[in-house]
């Protein structure tokens, strides 16, 4: 089991890096759109998995591998914090506040939507 959780985490981390680079290539780096989209989409996916697990449509194993392993590693809190501090250091206070508030609000809404759809 441990090896599968780790491998799902490997996949999540690689996808986060690749997708993050692709998004910032498209949308620029003034706002950390990459992490923003990743954290919100990962919250939606974890919500879906949680709902499916609650209604016993997926096993405990799948829930841990894809939930804890993949979604956990795909999304990130430390980069989110680091990017916010960088915005504050650049005196881009409004961007920093909007980044934090929208990440949390939309992330929670996405997780809620995922649970609501599948539960």
């Amino acid at each position: 089991m441990m090896i599968w959780i780790g491998l799902a985490g490997t996949l999540g981390a690689i996808l986060r890096y690749s997708l993050g680079r692709w998004i910032s290539g498209k949308l620029g780096t003034a706002i950390p759109w990459g992490t923003w989209i990743i954290n919100i989409s990962g919250s939606l996916l974890l919500g879906l998995l949680y709902g499916w697990h609650q209604s016993e449509m997926i096993s405990d194993g799948l829930w841990v591998v894809w939930g804890t392993g993949f979604c956990g590693a795909y999304t990130t809190f430390s980069t989110f914090g680091y990017e916010t501090i960088q915005l504050l250091t650049m005196k881009r206070y409004l961007s920093a506040i909007l980044y934090v508030v929208s990440s949390v609000l939309l992330g929670v809404a996405a997780a809620f939507a995922g649970v609501w759809i599948t539960a």
């Binding site: 981390a13 919500g47 956990g72 999304t75 430390s78």
Partner: protein, 132 residues
């Protein structure tokens, strides 16, 4: 392409370290997600320090990606944080949900800033990295 190997290896270890801590810290019993709060706080402190001390001239880009983006990125998590908020709210534990959000954000941001300060102190100069 080679950089993906480094990030993947870091992600593997970061994910399993987080999983071990989640199993080790009994959050479910006390009804408050202590494990993830602690994981995100420690990871934010570490990333601030690491990205500051491990400046591009001090470390290979591959190692920076493996430890920073791979390990620390996968060690901390945002989706479990948001799902935990939904779970607390569903159970009517609104106060706990609000405390969890505020504590996570305050700890994450303050500790990340502290980590950057520490890194700058250890590098021995007031760095202006990242400023435009």
């Amino acid at each position: 392409m080679k950089e993906l190997l480094y990030i993947g290896a870091g992600g593997f270890l970061g994910t399993l370290t987080r999983y071990a801590l989640q199993l080790g810290i009994p959050s479910a019993n006390v009804g408050f997600p202590w494990a993830v709060l602690l994981i995100n706080a420690i990871g934010s402190l570490f990333l601030g320090w690491f990205f500051t001390i491990a400046a591009p001239d001090k470390i290979t880009p591959q190692l920076r990606l493996a430890i920073g983006t791979g390990f620390t990125g996968a060690f901390t998590t945002f989706s479990t944080f948001t799902l935990d908020i939904v779970r607390l709210s569903e159970n009517g534990m609104w106060t706990k949900a609000v405390i969890y959000i505020v504590a996570s954000l305050l700890a994450g941001l303050l500790l990340c800033a502290l980590g950057i300060q520490l890194g700058q102190l250890m590098r021995g100069k007031p760095s202006q990295d990242g400023t435009a």
